[in-house]
């Protein structure tokens, strides 16, 4: 018998049929035991993943915050480091370069966001129509988003090259400029060349999210508006835009968070230069830690970034929650 009912359920069935008190006691014990086992079993699902996140996500972030109050450099990496209180924060907040990077980050994020969003929205509106080949073309556009940033960065560096770059050729041909611009190696244009590359990367993402939102809008509303004689433009401003608002807010919030952390493109295209003209905050942190090898200063910058991130993401979370309640 037992070999057939080798699992828990089988054993339980066996005990339930017996009626002697001792066995009954054993049965309730077993039941309680399975209850505990069940409870433990439930948590067994999350324990491995959560342990991983605790060890490799929460702990490193905490460690990062801790070393921002120490003087950890490449020199004393394996030795003793002493606490220096807020000294690193004072050093960073006195550094003009920190504020330049912050400014660059704000410009980078702002300009990218505006153009990604507008071009993404236009494409989404266009692709919301039904026409042959729509899905294939949409997927092709999406592919741009999947290309590793190192490759996109290298590619745009080549297109922005001074003498032989295709962008200069095009602009010369159209007549916008009358001599080649050294896009990447000129302090007044370097940040903008990285911005253009990043806009290109962000367009598909904005398009797909907005397209999904557009496709979920109720068609009856448009039918009704048509009957009432509302034109295309009127329908866009009176129906589409208000209904799209929650998605737009979330998309902009996510856009801020994702664009603020862009690093690879800057590293590849300009290396933050020339003369720090394209240094954004993550790059500034990277330089403190891995060019100067002052890990504590790097950690201080990333901790400041974490505070900014938490501020922005609380707004985001608040909006998501609000939308879910509606």
């Amino acid at each position: 018998m037992y070999t057939i009912f080798a699992n828990g359920g089988g054993i339980l069935m066996q005990t339930e049929t017996q009626q002697t008190p001792l066995v009954k006691k054993a049965a309730t014990y077993k039941k309680r035991k399975t209850k505990y086992a069940e409870k433990l079993g439930k948590y067994m699902f999350i324990i491995p993943g959560m342990t991983f996140l605790l060890v490799f996500l929460i702990f490193p972030i905490g460690y990062n915050i801790m070393i921002s109050f120490k003087d950890l450099t490449a020199m004393n990496l394996l030795g003793e480091q002493k606490f220096v209180g807020l000294q690193n924060y004072i050093t960073i907040l006195k550094d003009k370069l920190f504020f330049l990077s912050l400014k660059n980050s704000v410009v980078f994020t702002g300009v990218c966001l505006i153009f990604q969003f507008i071009i993404g929205l236009l494409l989404a509106l266009f692709f919301n129509q039904k026409f042959p080949g729509r899905n294939i073309l949409r997927s092709l556009i999406l592919m741009a988003w999947m290309i590793p940033l190192v490759i996109t960065g290298t590619l745009f560096k080549w297109m922005f090259a001074g003498e032989y770059g295709i962008i200069n050729h095009f602009l010369l041909w159209v007549g916008i400029i009358d001599q080649p611009v050294q896009w990447v190696s000129n302090a007044s244009t370097s940040l903008y060349s990285t911005i253009i590359a990043n806009i290109w990367i962000g367009i598909p993402f904005n398009m797909v999210i907005l397209l999904a939102a557009l496709q979920s809008l109720p068609e009856e509303l448009y039918e009704a508006a048509k009957v009432d004689g509302a034109g295309r433009i009127r329908r866009f401003f009176s129906i589409t835009l208000p209904l799209l608002k929650p998605t737009m807010f979330i998309l902009i919030m996510l856009g801020i968070i994702y664009t603020f952390k862009v690093f690879d493109i800057i590293l590849i295209m300009t290396g933050g230069g020339p003369v720090h003209s394209s240094t954004v905050l993550p790059f500034y942190a990277y330089e403190r830690a891995f060019t100067d090898f002052n890990f504590s200063l790097g950690a201080t910058v990333t901790t400041i970034m974490l505070i900014l991130l938490i501020l922005v993401s609380s707004v985001y979370l608040w909006m998501v929650r609000k939308e879910e309640q509606e």
Binding site: N7, G8, G41, K42, M44, F45, I46, G49, M50, F52, L53, F56, L57, P60, I61, Y63, I67, L77, L78, L123, F126, F131, G133, R134, L137, R138, S139, L140, I141, L142, M143, M146, I147, P148, V150, I151, K157, W158, M159, Y164, I166, H169, I203, F205, V208, I209, A212, T247, L251, L254, K261, F263, F290, F295, T302, M305, L309, I310, S313, V320
Partner: protein
Amino acid sequence: MKKNLIRSKYMATIIAVFSTILFLFPVYWMFVTSIKPMSAIFAIPPQVIPQDVNFDAYVKNFIDNPEILTYFGNSFIIAGGTLVLTLILAAPVAYALARLQIRGKGIVMITLLIAQMLPSIMLALPFFILFSKMHLLNSFLSLIIANTTSSLPFAILVLRPFFMSIPTGLEEAAALDGCNKFKTFYKIILPLVKPGLLTVGSFSFLFAWGDLLFSLILTSDKAIRPLTVHLYTFVGQHGTDWSSLMAVATISIIPIILIFIAFQKHIVGGMTSGSVK
């Protein structure tokens, strides 16, 4: 009237094709540069359609220099390892968050949402220090761990709705048939969320394949180096050898294109579900 409608439909296709070509011009330019002879690359005006084609750049960088195949293999090990580890860790957590009564669910969800947004540098810096203390620098394991850390929160958040959409009562039915929780999970629930697993699998592979920062900081050994770091150092060393650079770039995106073609539907789904909600 009907004719008009058809015409406008094809008009839309034509406009869409035109804007897609315009948008993807950089990718075309990458490929075209890689198959042009040196003289044509620096031609003025540039040859938008190449006049003569040669594959010197590919021969130079792949056949004459088989070292690159190691980097290719390394990228596969790192991305594949990340994929496996992410799926193993994410699926049970996502299931528990979707279907089981767990304490502190809300806090876990918010932590995951915020974790998904962390800049890589914020993790790379403590990883460098901790891994160097643990003598884990220059190992595949360190890169797989680092990449899994950044893809795991996303993976859990994307998988959770898939588990939520499974009809309730399935677990009870399985329990009556004598399956325990784990058996039910592996034998019955997991096969039902296969589309979700494909989504998460492709994303975690692609994220890890494209990673530069972790590999740059956590490795210096050529034996571990992935393709992205190779390309980065290549830009530094051969700054203007554009045809070689573009050849390496073209080859490195081929796996991505293949994955994209195979799992396109799942990738689009993952983008919309994971990022907005």
